[in-house]
Amino acid sequence: MRTETRNEALWKFGAYIFLMVIVVLVLIPLYWMIVAATIPQSEFFSWPPRIIPGLQWFDNFQALQENIDFLNSMWNSIIISVSYTALSLVLCSMAGFAFAKYEFRFKEPLFYFILATLVLPIQLLIIPLFLLMVQIGWTNSYLAVILPWAANPLGIFLMRQNMKAIPDSLLESARMDGATEFQLYYKIALPTMLPSLAALSIILFLNQWQAFLYPLVILQDPQMYTIPLALAELVGQQRVYFDQIMVATSLAVTPIFVVFLTMQQYFIKGILSGSVKQ
Protein backbone atom coordinates (compact mmCIF):
# COMPACT_ATOMS: atom_id res chain seq x y z
CA MET A 1 0.00 0.00 0.00
CA ARG A 2 2.78 2.40 0.90
CA THR A 3 4.76 1.77 -2.26
CA GLU A 4 1.57 2.28 -4.21
CA THR A 5 1.00 5.76 -2.82
CA ARG A 6 4.66 6.52 -3.35
CA ASN A 7 4.39 5.38 -6.95
CA GLU A 8 1.28 7.48 -7.30
CA ALA A 9 3.07 10.56 -5.98
CA LEU A 10 6.02 9.93 -8.28
CA TRP A 11 3.69 9.57 -11.23
CA LYS A 12 1.96 12.86 -10.43
CA PHE A 13 5.29 14.61 -10.02
CA GLY A 14 6.52 13.18 -13.33
CA ALA A 15 3.33 14.26 -15.09
CA TYR A 16 3.78 17.87 -13.96
CA ILE A 17 7.45 17.84 -14.95
CA PHE A 18 6.51 16.52 -18.40
CA LEU A 19 3.91 19.25 -18.92
CA MET A 20 6.34 21.91 -17.69
CA VAL A 21 8.99 20.74 -20.15
CA ILE A 22 6.50 20.88 -23.03
CA VAL A 23 5.37 24.37 -21.97
CA VAL A 24 8.96 25.62 -21.75
CA LEU A 25 9.80 24.16 -25.18
CA VAL A 26 6.72 25.83 -26.62
CA LEU A 27 7.48 29.20 -25.04
CA ILE A 28 11.22 29.43 -25.79
CA PRO A 29 10.85 30.38 -29.48
CA LEU A 30 8.28 33.04 -28.60
CA TYR A 31 10.46 34.41 -25.81
CA TRP A 32 13.42 34.43 -28.18
CA MET A 33 11.39 36.45 -30.65
CA ILE A 34 10.78 39.09 -27.97
CA VAL A 35 14.46 39.18 -27.03
CA ALA A 36 15.66 39.57 -30.61
CA ALA A 37 13.03 42.22 -31.38
CA THR A 38 14.08 44.41 -28.46
CA ILE A 39 17.89 44.42 -28.74
CA PRO A 40 20.13 45.86 -31.47
CA GLN A 41 21.36 43.41 -34.09
CA SER A 42 25.01 43.90 -33.02
CA GLU A 43 24.28 42.61 -29.51
CA PHE A 44 22.40 39.71 -30.95
CA PHE A 45 25.50 38.36 -32.66
CA SER A 46 27.62 38.73 -29.55
CA TRP A 47 28.74 35.59 -27.73
CA PRO A 48 27.19 34.55 -25.40
CA PRO A 49 23.90 35.72 -26.91
CA ARG A 50 21.77 38.09 -24.87
CA ILE A 51 18.90 36.33 -23.22
CA ILE A 52 17.22 39.27 -21.51
CA PRO A 53 14.92 41.55 -23.54
CA GLY A 54 16.07 45.10 -24.14
CA LEU A 55 14.30 48.39 -24.77
CA GLN A 56 15.11 48.81 -28.45
CA TRP A 57 11.81 47.67 -29.92
CA PHE A 58 10.77 51.07 -31.21
CA ASP A 59 14.19 51.83 -32.70
CA ASN A 60 14.17 48.48 -34.46
CA PHE A 61 10.65 49.19 -35.67
CA GLN A 62 11.76 52.51 -37.18
CA ALA A 63 14.65 50.80 -38.94
CA LEU A 64 12.21 48.20 -40.27
CA GLN A 65 9.82 50.87 -41.51
CA GLU A 66 12.69 52.63 -43.33
CA ASN A 67 13.80 49.36 -44.88
CA ILE A 68 10.41 48.18 -46.11
CA ASP A 69 6.98 49.72 -45.57
CA PHE A 70 5.77 47.13 -43.08
CA LEU A 71 2.76 49.11 -41.86
CA ASN A 72 1.50 49.15 -45.42
CA SER A 73 1.82 45.35 -45.53
CA MET A 74 -0.15 45.10 -42.31
CA TRP A 75 -2.81 47.30 -43.82
CA ASN A 76 -2.97 45.08 -46.92
CA SER A 77 -3.25 41.99 -44.73
CA ILE A 78 -6.06 43.53 -42.70
CA ILE A 79 -8.06 44.60 -45.76
CA ILE A 80 -7.65 41.23 -47.47
CA SER A 81 -8.33 39.09 -44.39
CA VAL A 82 -11.34 41.09 -43.18
CA SER A 83 -13.05 41.31 -46.58
CA TYR A 84 -12.32 37.67 -47.31
CA THR A 85 -13.80 36.60 -43.96
CA ALA A 86 -16.89 38.77 -44.38
CA LEU A 87 -17.54 37.63 -47.94
CA SER A 88 -16.99 33.98 -47.13
CA LEU A 89 -19.28 34.17 -44.08
CA VAL A 90 -22.12 35.57 -46.21
CA LEU A 91 -21.66 33.00 -48.99
CA CYS A 92 -21.28 30.02 -46.69
CA SER A 93 -24.07 30.91 -44.27
CA MET A 94 -26.57 31.64 -47.05
CA ALA A 95 -25.80 28.44 -48.93
CA GLY A 96 -25.58 26.50 -45.66
CA PHE A 97 -29.02 27.81 -44.67
CA ALA A 98 -30.52 26.61 -47.95
CA PHE A 99 -28.90 23.19 -47.58
CA ALA A 100 -30.07 22.83 -43.98
CA LYS A 101 -33.60 24.20 -44.12
CA TYR A 102 -35.01 23.87 -47.63
CA GLU A 103 -35.86 21.06 -49.97
CA PHE A 104 -34.84 21.48 -53.58
CA ARG A 105 -33.78 19.38 -56.54
CA PHE A 106 -30.20 18.06 -56.59
CA LYS A 107 -29.73 19.15 -52.96
CA GLU A 108 -27.95 16.00 -51.78
CA PRO A 109 -25.72 15.49 -54.85
CA LEU A 110 -24.66 19.15 -54.83
CA PHE A 111 -23.78 19.03 -51.16
CA TYR A 112 -21.77 15.83 -51.37
CA PHE A 113 -20.03 17.20 -54.41
CA ILE A 114 -18.87 20.20 -52.38
CA LEU A 115 -17.77 17.91 -49.56
CA ALA A 116 -15.66 15.87 -51.96
CA THR A 117 -13.70 19.01 -52.89
CA LEU A 118 -12.62 19.45 -49.25
CA VAL A 119 -9.68 17.19 -49.97
CA LEU A 120 -8.37 19.20 -52.93
CA PRO A 121 -5.06 20.76 -51.92
CA ILE A 122 -4.32 24.39 -52.66
CA GLN A 123 -1.35 23.74 -54.92
CA LEU A 124 -3.65 22.01 -57.40
CA LEU A 125 -5.37 25.33 -58.06
CA ILE A 126 -2.55 27.83 -58.08
CA ILE A 127 -1.26 27.50 -61.62
CA PRO A 128 -4.65 27.93 -63.36
CA LEU A 129 -5.59 30.72 -60.95
CA PHE A 130 -2.34 32.49 -61.82
CA LEU A 131 -3.03 32.16 -65.57
CA LEU A 132 -6.60 33.31 -65.04
CA MET A 133 -5.55 36.38 -63.05
CA VAL A 134 -2.89 37.28 -65.62
CA GLN A 135 -5.41 36.94 -68.42
CA ILE A 136 -8.01 39.20 -66.81
CA GLY A 137 -5.38 41.61 -65.49
CA TRP A 138 -6.04 41.08 -61.81
CA THR A 139 -2.52 40.37 -60.58
CA ASN A 140 -1.51 42.79 -57.82
CA SER A 141 -5.13 43.33 -56.81
CA TYR A 142 -6.92 42.62 -53.55
CA LEU A 143 -9.77 40.87 -55.35
CA ALA A 144 -7.46 38.26 -56.84
CA VAL A 145 -6.53 37.14 -53.32
CA ILE A 146 -9.96 37.58 -51.71
CA LEU A 147 -12.22 35.78 -54.19
CA PRO A 148 -10.73 32.32 -54.86
CA TRP A 149 -11.28 30.64 -51.48
CA ALA A 150 -14.32 32.67 -50.41
CA ALA A 151 -16.56 29.81 -51.60
CA ASN A 152 -15.10 27.62 -48.88
CA PRO A 153 -16.21 23.97 -48.76
CA LEU A 154 -15.39 23.65 -45.04
CA GLY A 155 -17.42 26.80 -44.35
CA ILE A 156 -20.55 25.56 -46.09
CA PHE A 157 -20.20 22.20 -44.34
CA LEU A 158 -19.98 23.78 -40.86
CA MET A 159 -22.84 26.16 -41.54
CA ARG A 160 -25.14 23.40 -42.76
CA GLN A 161 -24.32 21.11 -39.83
CA ASN A 162 -25.05 23.84 -37.29
CA MET A 163 -28.10 25.31 -39.00
CA LYS A 164 -29.78 21.92 -38.99
CA ALA A 165 -30.21 22.45 -35.24
CA ILE A 166 -32.50 25.44 -35.77
CA PRO A 167 -36.02 24.07 -35.11
CA ASP A 168 -38.44 24.18 -38.04
CA SER A 169 -41.18 25.38 -35.68
CA LEU A 170 -39.18 28.54 -34.98
CA LEU A 171 -39.01 29.38 -38.68
CA GLU A 172 -42.66 28.40 -39.13
CA SER A 173 -43.91 30.66 -36.34
CA ALA A 174 -41.84 33.53 -37.77
CA ARG A 175 -43.53 32.89 -41.12
CA MET A 176 -46.94 33.00 -39.41
CA ASP A 177 -45.95 36.33 -37.91
CA GLY A 178 -45.40 37.63 -41.41
CA ALA A 179 -41.64 37.41 -41.73
CA THR A 180 -40.39 37.33 -45.32
CA GLU A 181 -38.25 34.37 -46.39
CA PHE A 182 -35.13 36.49 -46.42
CA GLN A 183 -35.86 37.73 -42.89
CA LEU A 184 -35.89 34.09 -41.78
CA TYR A 185 -32.26 33.95 -42.83
CA TYR A 186 -30.88 37.15 -41.41
CA LYS A 187 -33.23 37.75 -38.46
CA ILE A 188 -33.74 34.19 -37.21
CA ALA A 189 -30.99 31.91 -38.53
CA LEU A 190 -27.97 34.22 -38.31
CA PRO A 191 -28.48 35.46 -34.73
CA THR A 192 -28.92 31.94 -33.39
CA MET A 193 -25.71 30.93 -35.16
CA LEU A 194 -23.38 33.50 -33.62
CA PRO A 195 -21.02 31.03 -31.86
CA SER A 196 -20.59 28.98 -35.03
CA LEU A 197 -20.11 32.12 -37.09
CA ALA A 198 -17.43 33.27 -34.64
CA ALA A 199 -15.62 29.93 -34.87
CA LEU A 200 -15.80 29.93 -38.66
CA SER A 201 -14.59 33.54 -38.91
CA ILE A 202 -11.55 32.69 -36.82
CA ILE A 203 -10.65 29.79 -39.14
CA LEU A 204 -11.18 31.90 -42.25
CA PHE A 205 -9.36 34.96 -40.93
CA LEU A 206 -6.38 32.96 -39.74
CA ASN A 207 -6.09 31.06 -43.02
CA GLN A 208 -6.03 34.28 -44.99
CA TRP A 209 -3.78 36.13 -42.51
CA GLN A 210 -1.05 33.51 -42.88
CA ALA A 211 -1.64 32.59 -46.54
CA PHE A 212 1.70 32.55 -48.34
CA LEU A 213 2.04 30.49 -51.52
CA TYR A 214 -0.90 31.95 -53.45
CA PRO A 215 -0.27 35.63 -52.52
CA LEU A 216 3.42 35.06 -53.36
CA VAL A 217 2.38 34.12 -56.87
CA ILE A 218 -0.28 36.79 -57.39
CA LEU A 219 1.07 39.87 -55.58
CA GLN A 220 4.41 40.92 -57.07
CA ASP A 221 4.26 44.65 -56.39
CA PRO A 222 5.83 45.42 -52.96
CA GLN A 223 3.05 47.98 -52.43
CA MET A 224 0.59 45.08 -52.41
CA TYR A 225 2.58 42.73 -50.15
CA THR A 226 0.79 41.09 -47.24
CA ILE A 227 2.62 40.41 -43.94
CA PRO A 228 3.99 36.95 -44.91
CA LEU A 229 5.30 38.35 -48.20
CA ALA A 230 6.98 41.26 -46.42
CA LEU A 231 8.61 38.81 -43.98
CA ALA A 232 9.85 36.65 -46.85
CA GLU A 233 11.22 39.79 -48.51
CA LEU A 234 13.16 40.65 -45.33
CA VAL A 235 14.57 37.12 -45.03
CA GLY A 236 15.65 37.18 -48.67
CA GLN A 237 17.54 40.48 -48.50
CA GLN A 238 21.29 40.66 -49.11
CA ARG A 239 21.96 41.55 -45.50
CA VAL A 240 19.58 39.84 -43.10
CA TYR A 241 18.46 42.08 -40.22
CA PHE A 242 17.24 39.70 -37.54
CA ASP A 243 16.16 42.55 -35.25
CA GLN A 244 13.90 43.95 -37.97
CA ILE A 245 12.57 40.52 -38.90
CA MET A 246 11.66 39.82 -35.28
CA VAL A 247 9.96 43.19 -34.88
CA ALA A 248 7.92 42.39 -37.97
CA THR A 249 7.18 38.88 -36.71
CA SER A 250 6.07 40.16 -33.33
CA LEU A 251 3.71 42.57 -35.10
CA ALA A 252 2.37 39.70 -37.20
CA VAL A 253 1.65 37.32 -34.32
CA THR A 254 0.52 39.68 -31.54
CA PRO A 255 -2.97 40.46 -32.91
CA ILE A 256 -3.64 36.75 -33.37
CA PHE A 257 -2.41 35.99 -29.84
CA VAL A 258 -4.84 38.57 -28.49
CA VAL A 259 -7.70 36.97 -30.44
CA PHE A 260 -6.58 33.53 -29.30
CA LEU A 261 -6.43 34.47 -25.63
CA THR A 262 -9.72 36.38 -25.58
CA MET A 263 -11.78 34.08 -27.80
CA GLN A 264 -10.19 30.76 -27.00
CA GLN A 265 -13.42 28.76 -26.86
CA TYR A 266 -14.28 29.76 -30.46
CA PHE A 267 -10.74 29.02 -31.57
CA ILE A 268 -11.01 25.51 -30.14
CA LYS A 269 -14.50 25.08 -31.52
CA GLY A 270 -13.11 26.03 -34.91
CA ILE A 271 -10.23 23.53 -34.68
CA LEU A 272 -12.55 20.76 -33.55
CA SER A 273 -15.34 21.46 -36.05
CA GLY A 274 -12.76 21.22 -38.81
CA SER A 275 -11.76 17.82 -37.50
CA VAL A 276 -15.17 16.25 -37.10
CA LYS A 277 -15.78 15.25 -40.66
CA GLN A 278 -18.52 12.68 -41.00
Binding site: F97, P121, I122, I127, P128, Q135, T249
Partner: protein, 339 residues
Protein backbone atom coordinates in the same frame (compact mmCIF):
# COMPACT_ATOMS: atom_id res chain seq x y z
CA UNK B 1 -85.70 20.59 -29.48
CA UNK B 2 -83.65 23.58 -28.70
CA UNK B 3 -81.17 21.35 -26.92
CA UNK B 4 -80.65 19.03 -29.91
CA UNK B 5 -80.24 22.00 -32.20
CA UNK B 6 -77.51 23.27 -29.97
CA UNK B 7 -75.96 19.81 -29.86
CA UNK B 8 -75.88 19.53 -33.64
CA UNK B 9 -74.42 23.03 -33.87
CA UNK B 10 -71.74 22.04 -31.39
CA UNK B 11 -71.04 18.82 -33.27
CA UNK B 12 -70.69 20.60 -36.58
CA UNK B 13 -68.49 23.17 -34.89
CA UNK B 14 -66.28 20.38 -33.56
CA UNK B 15 -66.15 18.81 -36.98
CA UNK B 16 -65.17 22.15 -38.44
CA UNK B 17 -62.53 22.60 -35.78
CA UNK B 18 -61.08 19.18 -36.50
CA UNK B 19 -61.13 19.82 -40.21
CA UNK B 20 -59.43 23.17 -39.89
CA UNK B 21 -56.84 21.67 -37.57
CA UNK B 22 -56.09 18.98 -40.11
CA UNK B 23 -55.79 21.52 -42.87
CA UNK B 24 -53.40 23.53 -40.73
CA UNK B 25 -51.25 20.55 -39.83
CA UNK B 26 -51.08 19.40 -43.42
CA UNK B 27 -50.10 22.88 -44.49
CA UNK B 28 -47.43 22.96 -41.82
CA UNK B 29 -46.12 19.59 -42.90
CA UNK B 30 -45.81 20.82 -46.44
CA UNK B 31 -44.42 24.20 -45.63
CA UNK B 32 -41.73 22.83 -43.34
CA UNK B 33 -39.02 22.37 -45.91
CA UNK B 34 -40.77 23.45 -49.04
CA UNK B 35 -40.37 27.15 -49.64
CA UNK B 36 -43.18 29.39 -50.78
CA UNK B 37 -40.88 30.76 -53.45
CA UNK B 38 -39.50 27.85 -55.50
CA UNK B 39 -36.36 29.63 -56.73
CA UNK B 40 -35.38 30.84 -53.25
CA UNK B 41 -32.96 28.02 -52.31
CA UNK B 42 -31.21 28.46 -55.63
CA UNK B 43 -30.86 32.18 -54.95
CA UNK B 44 -29.23 31.32 -51.62
CA UNK B 45 -26.74 28.86 -53.06
CA UNK B 46 -25.93 30.48 -56.40
CA UNK B 47 -23.40 33.11 -55.19
CA UNK B 48 -21.47 30.31 -53.52
CA UNK B 49 -21.63 28.08 -56.56
CA UNK B 50 -20.61 30.80 -59.01
CA UNK B 51 -17.37 31.48 -57.12
CA UNK B 52 -16.94 27.77 -56.43
CA UNK B 53 -17.19 26.97 -60.13
CA UNK B 54 -14.85 29.72 -61.32
CA UNK B 55 -12.18 29.48 -58.64
CA UNK B 56 -12.27 25.84 -57.55
CA UNK B 57 -13.82 23.50 -60.11
CA UNK B 58 -12.45 25.14 -63.22
CA UNK B 59 -8.84 25.38 -61.91
CA UNK B 60 -8.88 21.77 -60.74
CA UNK B 61 -9.97 20.52 -64.15
CA UNK B 62 -7.58 22.91 -65.89
CA UNK B 63 -4.56 21.68 -63.89
CA UNK B 64 -5.26 18.15 -65.07
CA UNK B 65 -5.65 19.43 -68.66
CA UNK B 66 -2.50 21.54 -68.44
CA UNK B 67 -0.43 18.57 -67.31
CA UNK B 68 -0.62 17.15 -70.85
CA UNK B 69 0.69 20.35 -72.43
CA UNK B 70 3.72 22.57 -72.66
CA UNK B 71 3.11 26.17 -71.73
CA UNK B 72 4.39 28.50 -74.43
CA UNK B 73 3.18 31.85 -73.15
CA UNK B 74 0.20 34.12 -72.75
CA UNK B 75 -2.39 33.63 -75.47
CA UNK B 76 -3.95 36.38 -77.57
CA UNK B 77 -6.39 34.27 -79.54
CA UNK B 78 -10.07 33.89 -78.87
CA UNK B 79 -11.16 30.47 -77.69
CA UNK B 80 -14.90 30.91 -78.04
CA UNK B 81 -17.02 33.68 -79.44
CA UNK B 82 -20.79 33.68 -79.07
CA UNK B 83 -22.96 36.30 -80.71
CA UNK B 84 -26.37 36.79 -79.16
CA UNK B 85 -28.10 39.57 -81.10
CA UNK B 86 -26.32 42.82 -80.30
CA UNK B 87 -24.09 41.26 -77.63
CA UNK B 88 -20.96 39.31 -78.47
CA UNK B 89 -19.36 37.33 -75.69
CA UNK B 90 -15.84 36.21 -76.43
CA UNK B 91 -13.78 34.09 -74.08
CA UNK B 92 -10.06 34.51 -74.67
CA UNK B 93 -7.79 31.51 -74.73
CA UNK B 94 -6.17 31.20 -71.34
CA UNK B 95 -2.71 30.20 -72.51
CA UNK B 96 -0.75 29.23 -75.58
CA UNK B 97 -0.20 25.47 -75.29
CA UNK B 98 1.47 22.60 -77.09
CA UNK B 99 0.18 19.06 -76.62
CA UNK B 100 2.79 16.63 -75.30
CA UNK B 101 0.66 13.73 -74.07
CA UNK B 102 2.00 11.79 -71.12
CA UNK B 103 5.61 12.82 -71.59
CA UNK B 104 5.61 15.07 -68.47
CA UNK B 105 4.58 12.12 -66.36
CA UNK B 106 7.10 9.84 -68.02
CA UNK B 107 9.90 12.32 -67.30
CA UNK B 108 8.73 12.83 -63.70
CA UNK B 109 8.58 9.16 -62.86
CA UNK B 110 11.71 7.96 -64.64
CA UNK B 111 14.12 10.80 -65.28
CA UNK B 112 13.66 13.81 -63.04
CA UNK B 113 16.28 13.47 -60.31
CA UNK B 114 15.36 16.73 -58.58
CA UNK B 115 11.73 15.65 -58.33
CA UNK B 116 12.85 12.38 -56.75
CA UNK B 117 15.00 14.37 -54.30
CA UNK B 118 12.05 16.57 -53.37
CA UNK B 119 9.87 13.50 -52.90
CA UNK B 120 12.53 11.90 -50.71
CA UNK B 121 12.90 15.04 -48.58
CA UNK B 122 9.15 15.33 -48.13
CA UNK B 123 8.86 11.64 -47.27
CA UNK B 124 11.69 12.00 -44.74
CA UNK B 125 9.98 14.94 -43.04
CA UNK B 126 6.76 12.92 -43.02
CA UNK B 127 8.35 9.73 -41.62
CA UNK B 128 10.14 11.51 -38.77
CA UNK B 129 7.80 14.38 -38.05
CA UNK B 130 4.39 12.69 -37.97
CA UNK B 131 5.31 9.88 -35.53
CA UNK B 132 7.23 12.35 -33.32
CA UNK B 133 4.41 14.87 -33.21
CA UNK B 134 1.58 12.36 -32.82
CA UNK B 135 3.27 10.45 -30.01
CA UNK B 136 4.30 13.56 -28.05
CA UNK B 137 0.88 15.09 -28.74
CA UNK B 138 -0.88 11.96 -27.51
CA UNK B 139 1.30 11.76 -24.39
CA UNK B 140 0.61 15.41 -23.62
CA UNK B 141 -3.11 14.95 -24.14
CA UNK B 142 -3.25 11.82 -21.93
CA UNK B 143 -1.29 13.50 -19.11
CA UNK B 144 -3.38 16.65 -19.37
CA UNK B 145 -6.55 14.54 -19.26
CA UNK B 146 -5.54 12.98 -15.91
CA UNK B 147 -7.94 13.83 -13.09
CA UNK B 148 -5.29 15.10 -10.68
CA UNK B 149 -3.82 17.77 -12.98
CA UNK B 150 -4.64 21.29 -11.83
CA UNK B 151 -4.68 24.42 -14.01
CA UNK B 152 -5.64 22.32 -17.03
CA UNK B 153 -6.90 25.35 -18.90
CA UNK B 154 -3.63 27.23 -18.40
CA UNK B 155 -1.52 24.30 -19.62
CA UNK B 156 -3.76 23.79 -22.61
CA UNK B 157 -3.67 27.47 -23.56
CA UNK B 158 0.11 27.69 -23.33
CA UNK B 159 0.74 24.50 -25.29
CA UNK B 160 -1.76 25.53 -27.96
CA UNK B 161 -0.24 29.01 -28.35
CA UNK B 162 1.73 28.14 -31.55
CA UNK B 163 -1.60 27.49 -33.28
CA UNK B 164 -1.97 31.28 -33.37
CA UNK B 165 1.35 31.93 -35.13
CA UNK B 166 1.36 32.30 -38.89
CA UNK B 167 3.41 29.85 -40.96
CA UNK B 168 5.90 32.38 -42.28
CA UNK B 169 6.09 34.21 -38.93
CA UNK B 170 7.06 31.15 -36.93
CA UNK B 171 9.47 30.07 -39.67
CA UNK B 172 11.42 33.30 -39.24
CA UNK B 173 11.72 32.56 -35.50
CA UNK B 174 13.15 29.11 -36.24
CA UNK B 175 15.51 30.59 -38.81
CA UNK B 176 16.89 32.66 -35.95
CA UNK B 177 16.86 29.93 -33.26
CA UNK B 178 18.76 27.46 -35.41
CA UNK B 179 21.23 29.97 -36.83
CA UNK B 180 24.55 28.11 -36.91
CA UNK B 181 26.63 30.96 -35.43
CA UNK B 182 24.33 33.00 -33.21
CA UNK B 183 21.34 30.75 -32.63
CA UNK B 184 20.10 29.94 -29.15
CA UNK B 185 20.08 26.19 -29.81
CA UNK B 186 23.79 26.01 -30.55
CA UNK B 187 24.51 28.26 -27.57
CA UNK B 188 22.67 25.87 -25.26
CA UNK B 189 24.46 22.87 -26.81
CA UNK B 190 27.84 24.50 -26.17
CA UNK B 191 26.85 25.37 -22.60
CA UNK B 192 25.96 21.72 -22.05
CA UNK B 193 29.46 20.78 -23.18
CA UNK B 194 28.36 19.48 -26.58
CA UNK B 195 29.64 20.60 -29.92
CA UNK B 196 27.47 22.96 -31.98
CA UNK B 197 25.51 21.42 -34.85
CA UNK B 198 25.52 22.82 -38.39
CA UNK B 199 21.71 22.99 -38.37
CA UNK B 200 21.23 25.00 -41.51
CA UNK B 201 24.60 24.19 -43.07
CA UNK B 202 24.22 20.42 -43.34
CA UNK B 203 21.64 18.26 -45.08
CA UNK B 204 20.51 16.27 -42.05
CA UNK B 205 20.66 19.27 -39.73
CA UNK B 206 18.47 21.28 -42.10
CA UNK B 207 15.95 18.44 -42.42
CA UNK B 208 15.80 18.06 -38.64
CA UNK B 209 15.31 21.82 -38.24
CA UNK B 210 12.24 21.62 -40.50
CA UNK B 211 10.96 18.57 -38.56
CA UNK B 212 11.33 20.32 -35.21
CA UNK B 213 9.78 23.54 -36.48
CA UNK B 214 6.72 21.80 -37.90
CA UNK B 215 6.35 19.75 -34.71
CA UNK B 216 6.43 22.92 -32.61
CA UNK B 217 3.75 24.58 -34.75
CA UNK B 218 1.27 21.67 -34.85
CA UNK B 219 1.75 19.88 -31.51
CA UNK B 220 -0.86 21.94 -29.65
CA UNK B 221 -3.30 21.76 -32.54
CA UNK B 222 -3.25 17.98 -32.53
CA UNK B 223 -3.25 17.86 -28.74
CA UNK B 224 -6.55 19.78 -28.69
CA UNK B 225 -8.14 17.30 -31.09
CA UNK B 226 -6.80 14.28 -29.15
CA UNK B 227 -7.90 15.81 -25.84
CA UNK B 228 -11.44 16.19 -27.19
CA UNK B 229 -11.29 12.53 -28.24
CA UNK B 230 -10.09 11.44 -24.78
CA UNK B 231 -12.94 13.27 -23.10
CA UNK B 232 -15.49 11.16 -24.98
CA UNK B 233 -14.14 7.89 -23.51
CA UNK B 234 -16.77 6.67 -20.99
CA UNK B 235 -15.54 6.69 -17.38
CA UNK B 236 -17.14 3.26 -16.71
CA UNK B 237 -14.70 1.58 -19.09
CA UNK B 238 -11.79 2.73 -16.94
CA UNK B 239 -13.58 1.66 -13.76
CA UNK B 240 -14.31 -1.77 -15.23
CA UNK B 241 -10.65 -2.13 -16.24
CA UNK B 242 -9.56 -1.13 -12.74
CA UNK B 243 -11.79 -3.79 -11.20
CA UNK B 244 -10.11 -6.30 -13.51
CA UNK B 245 -6.81 -5.17 -12.02
CA UNK B 246 -5.50 -3.22 -15.02
CA UNK B 247 -2.52 -0.93 -14.41
CA UNK B 248 -2.00 2.49 -15.90
CA UNK B 249 -0.33 1.21 -19.05
CA UNK B 250 -2.88 -1.56 -19.56
CA UNK B 251 -5.73 0.93 -19.24
CA UNK B 252 -4.08 3.10 -21.88
CA UNK B 253 -3.37 0.16 -24.17
CA UNK B 254 -6.71 -1.67 -23.91
CA UNK B 255 -9.19 1.11 -23.14
CA UNK B 256 -7.89 4.48 -24.29
CA UNK B 257 -6.21 3.51 -27.57
CA UNK B 258 -9.11 1.50 -29.04
CA UNK B 259 -11.59 4.15 -27.93
CA UNK B 260 -9.80 7.09 -29.54
CA UNK B 261 -8.71 5.16 -32.63
CA UNK B 262 -10.91 7.20 -35.04
CA UNK B 263 -9.59 10.50 -33.65
CA UNK B 264 -6.02 9.22 -33.81
CA UNK B 265 -6.57 8.14 -37.38
CA UNK B 266 -7.89 11.58 -38.25
CA UNK B 267 -4.84 13.21 -36.69
CA UNK B 268 -2.47 10.92 -38.60
CA UNK B 269 -4.23 11.35 -41.95
CA UNK B 270 -4.50 15.12 -41.70
CA UNK B 271 -0.87 15.42 -40.55
CA UNK B 272 0.18 13.30 -43.52
CA UNK B 273 -1.69 15.52 -45.93
CA UNK B 274 -0.19 18.55 -44.17
CA UNK B 275 3.44 17.42 -44.32
CA UNK B 276 3.17 16.62 -48.02
CA UNK B 277 2.11 20.23 -48.61
CA UNK B 278 4.94 21.88 -46.68
CA UNK B 279 6.15 25.00 -48.43
CA UNK B 280 6.57 28.05 -46.16
CA UNK B 281 9.02 26.41 -43.75
CA UNK B 282 11.69 25.30 -46.26
CA UNK B 283 11.15 28.47 -48.30
CA UNK B 284 11.91 30.68 -45.29
CA UNK B 285 14.23 28.60 -43.10
CA UNK B 286 16.46 26.76 -45.55
CA UNK B 287 15.51 28.03 -49.00
CA UNK B 288 15.41 24.36 -49.98
CA UNK B 289 19.12 24.02 -49.25
CA UNK B 290 21.82 23.16 -48.54
CA UNK B 291 22.16 21.84 -52.11
CA UNK B 292 18.48 20.84 -52.35
CA UNK B 293 18.54 18.75 -49.17
CA UNK B 294 15.27 20.24 -47.96
CA UNK B 295 13.49 21.12 -51.19
CA UNK B 296 9.91 19.83 -50.86
CA UNK B 297 7.51 18.77 -53.58
CA UNK B 298 5.39 21.91 -53.33
CA UNK B 299 8.53 24.02 -53.43
CA UNK B 300 9.57 22.14 -56.56
CA UNK B 301 6.14 22.89 -58.06
CA UNK B 302 6.64 26.57 -57.21
CA UNK B 303 10.13 26.67 -58.73
CA UNK B 304 9.08 24.88 -61.91
CA UNK B 305 5.94 26.94 -62.37
CA UNK B 306 6.92 30.44 -61.32
CA UNK B 307 10.69 30.65 -61.56
CA UNK B 308 11.14 28.61 -64.74
CA UNK B 309 7.63 29.07 -66.16
CA UNK B 310 7.25 25.35 -66.93
CA UNK B 311 3.57 25.60 -66.02
CA UNK B 312 2.55 22.41 -67.82
CA UNK B 313 5.26 20.38 -66.16
CA UNK B 314 4.49 21.87 -62.74
CA UNK B 315 0.83 20.93 -63.23
CA UNK B 316 1.89 17.33 -63.81
CA UNK B 317 3.84 17.42 -60.52
CA UNK B 318 0.73 18.78 -58.76
CA UNK B 319 -1.47 16.02 -60.14
CA UNK B 320 1.08 13.37 -59.21
CA UNK B 321 1.36 14.77 -55.68
CA UNK B 322 -2.41 14.63 -55.22
CA UNK B 323 -2.42 11.02 -56.41
CA UNK B 324 0.40 10.06 -54.00
CA UNK B 325 -1.22 11.78 -51.01
CA UNK B 326 -4.67 10.34 -51.74
CA UNK B 327 -3.19 6.86 -52.07
CA UNK B 328 -1.41 7.24 -48.73
CA UNK B 329 -4.54 8.49 -47.00
CA UNK B 330 -6.57 5.60 -48.37
CA UNK B 331 -3.95 3.09 -47.19
CA UNK B 332 -3.90 4.69 -43.73
CA UNK B 333 -7.69 4.64 -43.48
CA UNK B 334 -7.84 1.02 -44.66
CA UNK B 335 -5.11 -0.05 -42.29
CA UNK B 336 -6.04 2.06 -39.28
CA UNK B 337 -9.81 1.98 -39.54
CA UNK B 338 -10.45 -1.72 -39.04
CA UNK B 339 -13.50 -2.10 -36.88
Amino acid sequence: MALSAIRSRVRSLEAYQQLSDRVRYTRQDISAGIPEIPWLPYAYISPFFILFGIFLLFPTAYTLYLSFFNYLGVANEVLLSVTMGPVTVSIPQIANLEFVGLSHYERLVFRDGLFHTSLFNTAFIFLVQVPLMVSVGLATAVVLDSKFIRAKGLFRTLIALPVATGLVAYSTIFLLLFNDQAGLINYVLVQLGLSPVAWLGSAWGARMTIVLAVTWRWLGYNMIILLAGLQTVPEQLYEAAEIDGAGRWQKFRYVTLPQIQPVLLFVVVSSTIGTFQIFSEPYIITGGGPSNATITVVQYIYNQAFLQLNLGYASAVSVLLVIIVSAMSIVQIQYGGEE
